[in-house]
Symmetry: none
Subunit: 163 residues, 2 copies
């Protein structure tokens, strides 16, 4: 997967595209917040993000961060999460928009895949409920060949680490 730095620009592009499609405006604040968000590797809380953007512009307030994150969520570039009883956090979801994940529960390796048939069915399901599908998240958890004990089966993680 792309490193955090490398993905920032493409994601900014998607964000701007969404803004103009919706006739919304690009502003310094939105850009600053979105950029800081995309550059994060893992999960960010509102406070984290506010702290980051205030390094650049100390006058930014919570409201703008909340509003921008809401926009990012609407266009599928961010996803709200909550682990346990902790506070709400956001994660970059842009890279999950067009491919899905296959995760080995043994070695934790994550493979990405795409499958048109599944996407088509997802669309059908959404339509059958009267919904217009915007994005999706699909995660498959299973055992990789090695973990299954297949002789010669390789663990995708090990195979990759050699490179």
């Amino acid at each position: 997967m792309a490193s955090p730095e490398a993905r920032v620009e493409p994601l900014m592009g998607q964000f701007h595209e969404y803004l103009s499609r919706k006739q919304l405006k690009s502003t310094k604040q939105r850009d600053l917040i979105a950029r800081a968000f995309f550059a994060q590797d893992g999960h960010v809380s509102i406070d984290d993000l506010l702290g980051l953007v205030r390094e650049d512009n100390s006058r930014i307030g919570y409201a703008t961060v909340y509003r921008t994150l809401k926009l990012l969520t609407e266009c599928g570039l961010a996803a709200a999460r909550q682990f346990g009883d902790g506070q709400r956090i956001y994660e970059v979801a842009g890279d999950t928009a067009h491919h899905d994940h296959l995760i080995c529960i043994e070695c934790q390796h994550v493979l990405e895949f795409e499958n048109e048939d599944i996407e088509r069915l997802q669309d059908q399901v959404a339509r059958s409920f009267g919904f217009n599908l915007v994005r999706h998240k699909l995660e498959l958890y299973g055992l990789c060949p090695k973990a299954r004990g297949i002789k010669g089966g390789s663990c995708p993680r090990e195979a990759e680490e050699k490179s």
Copy 2:
């Protein structure tokens, strides 16, 4: 999957076991709340749950519901979850494996669905990578009929609130 009714007793058993292991007490309120929670099919918000238990005992307050749900989370019988920007909701642990979610990004309503074709394809995909599929998580995000501006289109959330 076990029907909601069928699983209540075993889960109550686990809960009581946890309580006694931790030297905590069983009380009418805890039982009432836990039972109502386990009997739910999908997701429950604190408010839903409070409403349910108040049918039986109108003097129960938020605090007790929060405290009980915290206990249930600690012992792994409940999981806090958050879809989009909506409020925190809880679901019965282990209940996520067998249905998927369709979420409106406008009104935050969550519908559950099952689709055998999708599941079959997921299995195929996993197999094509040499994986043995154990479980999955699929979330579809879109706009409900009303949010799409369809005249007469109803928001699932509103439709539900009438009942």
